[in-house]
Homo-oligomer: 425 residues x 2
């Protein structure tokens, strides 16, 4: 196929994306697990999750696509390619939600992928590569820990048997929950196949950057790394009325000084370091007792592994220094260090080029949140397409995205998927 | 009686105080409600509280003193004066403890008072005024709220009927608990009488000032005032990974800035202002979510009412300012304002003079903690005698005081009580 032919097909694919159909699918899907307050409660492998899978499998059947479920509970909708033994170009995200989640986190990536399949059909475009739309199992990690469990099993990052033994809060294993959903929403079993040719995930940004810049498309370069720490500050309980300031070993006052110092330490001019103290516990937590113990969490994220390593070391040093000056004991425990993911240039380049071709303002950025794409990037060229969400909010019932932005992201996705799937095998 | 005679009697009274007897009484009393870890769990009007009352009533009977209980559950041991219709000089404290309290808080004041009665007997000193040793009901406020309830009822600060209707966590009223203790530890009923001629309370300091100065006796001038506030900071929840610093409305980060500013505001060179944030709650309190709401308590104490009024106003202003600069909403709620108590000079002067006469290093200071003396000061000349406690600790099982300091405080108390009780009616 000539370069001009390809360019024409990509425009046709994007031109066949239907804004109304895509929005209608979102409305239908958002009824399953609806909280009644505009949000979703559709935890992984619950009856609601099964209903969501059944809904999209029904749409797939109407188009002649096959829907299968693998041993880890991931669901695949396959549009065959002209060379069926070729590796699939894969796109998708997840259909499970947080307990008080929104209607777009995950769902958009699955429905935008499905829209691309329909758009290619409507445009009469056949591709050498098959295209698979996937809904990964338990991305949110709200029912089973850890999140992104289905994609971790798919890529071999976590052994399947380990994943199947994970339990929810009620003691139900993934294996048992999968058996139930296999019973209520039976799908053909998916046989293991070759790694995907590429993976592209569309998602709401879950942050405010695109919205504040006025950009419609985020060209995602990778996923930033995360370090987590737990800090324990040990002072000495005392009577709030009788203990002079000079005699106090106030664990809360020291924690306040520690957090102030850590905020100064991590404040960068570029505003790229994400430093969050999200959890704090005070003991004995009584208004008239000087706190004897405070524990707090640190969540530190950045796209650079070096910066995370360096800043993590400085956190240890800063806590020691401030604690000594406040005459308390403080220790920092390293909880986890997930290195940043950097996508190979192939897919991000295709996303950037598609956004340009569609005339959409775009911005190159790393993902602040974790996604299944993190695991996929270990086995194939991977990338993501971000669209803005209202006020950058996600994991809340007020999460919102506009039909226009959903449409724009799907057009970009259609171009990228078509370009990848049209490549000769 | 000549001035020289009085001086001689006071020396005799102090000279008859027995260090060993006083210490032995503390050991005996500390077995009732012992936690097994060196502390006490002897909540008000429990069977243990009744046993403690029975123990001292037994000692009183052996000396020929009468023990009575008033309608509010306060227990009085009376050594008659030569003019029985004269108002009593009263001394004492309380026998109830915190759930994990120490063996000296309250108990010392009762046992030191009882020691004074015995010392006067041993010295053969009769006084015109009767002397009463009192154990006030529920000073700690651990079982029934508020604390110092018995002395509040005695002085008319709280109506007796209101006090009797207060309930503990299990729903038992003071009235019911009193009926039980009247059954298990019956005492003669105390008829209402005239207000006391004076009230003197011996107590451990519950703070580190005397110990750090190397002083043995605290001449207490009054009880500092307390203002309590509740602060609520409303930010906006957000994803810890995706939200840049500039877009955050982090309620915890704002609370940290607020507390830092309030610490600067209340830091005085004299180290007399007591500013404590003892309680804090964070929502949703999840390590990877930017906190949307933080509430915290403020406990502010000082001997000057004006300073408390002024500083309280500045707290409101400071919170507003800092909240605006952090783009969060914050409101300060005034919870309570208990004005400082200033004792009339009579008793503090007597305490200072007694400490000098005993050659004991002493320091003039306000009480940081609340005491029954606060209520008594409304109806009669009042004062307190403080002694040091180990590391200033109280309301904990490690609370400790030395036999020498208990002895020194009782000698001072003996002089003060004798001086007051020898005065002509």
């Amino acid at each position: 196929m000539s370069a001009a032919d390809v360019t024409g097909r990509l425009a046709q694919a994007a031109g066949s994306v239907s804004k109304d159909r895509l929005w209608r699918r979102h409305l239908e899907m958002s009824r399953i697990g609806a909280t009644g307050r505009g949000g979703l409660n559709r935890l992984a492998l619950t009856p609601e999750d099964g209903q969501a899978q059944a809904l999209i499998a029904g749409w797939a059947a109407a188009r002649g696509y096959t829907t299968t479920r693998d041993a880890a509970g991931n669901v695949f909708i396959r549009r065959e390619g002209s060379r069926p033994d070729a590796p699939a170009v894969m796109t998708g995200s997840h259909l499970d939600s947080q307990p008080n989640g929104g209607c777009f986190d995950g769902t958009y990536g699955v429905l935008a992928g499905f829209e691309v399949l329909e758009a290619l059909d409507d445009a009469g475009i056949a591709t050498p590569h098959p295209i698979e739309v996937v809904a990964w199992m338990n991305e949110e990690g709200s029912r089973f820990v850890p999140g992104a469990m289905g994609s971790a099993a798919f890529t071999g990052f976590l052994p399947l048997q380990d994943v199947l033994e994970k339990k929810d809060a009620a003691g139900v294993t993934v294996r048992e929950a999968l058996a139930r959903i296999d019973g209520s929403t039976p799908l053909a079993a998916r046989a293991p196949g070759p790694p995907p040719a590429a993976y592209v995930e569309a998602h709401i940004e879950q942050g405010p950057i695109l919205e504040s810049r006025g950009d419609t498309i985020g060209v995602v370069t990778g996923i930033q790394g995360i370090r987590r720490f737990a800090v324990e500050v040990l002072g000495e309980e005392g009577h709030a009325g009788t203990t002079p300031r000079a005699s106090r070993k106030d664990a809360l006052s020291a924690a306040v000084a520690l957090i102030s110092a850590l905020e100064r330490l991590t404040a960068d001019a570029e505003d790229q370091v994400r430093f969050t103290v999200g959890r704090m516990a005070v003991e004995p937590n009584s208004p008239n007792t000087i706190p004897g113990k405070v524990t707090f969490s640190i969540d530190l994220r950045h796209p650079s592994k070096d910066l995370l390593a360096r800043t993590g070391d400085l956190i240890h040093a800063t806590v020691s220094e401030v604690a000594a000056s406040r005459r308390v004991d403080a220790k920092v425990q390293d909880i986890s260090f997930v290195a940043p993911t950097t996508f190979l240039p192939l897919v991000p380049e295709a996303v950037r080029s598609a956004a340009s071709a569609e005339g959409l303002p775009h911005h190159v950025l790393p993902s602040g949140a974790g996604h299944d794409a993190m695991h996929l990037s270990r086995i194939c060229p991977t990338g993501m397409v971000f669209i803005p969400c209202l006020n950058g909010r996600s994991h809340t019932e007020v999460e919102s995205a506009t039909p226009e932005d959903l449409f724009a992201g799907a057009r970009v996705l259609a171009r990228v998927i078509a370009e990848l799937a049209l490549q000769s095998c």
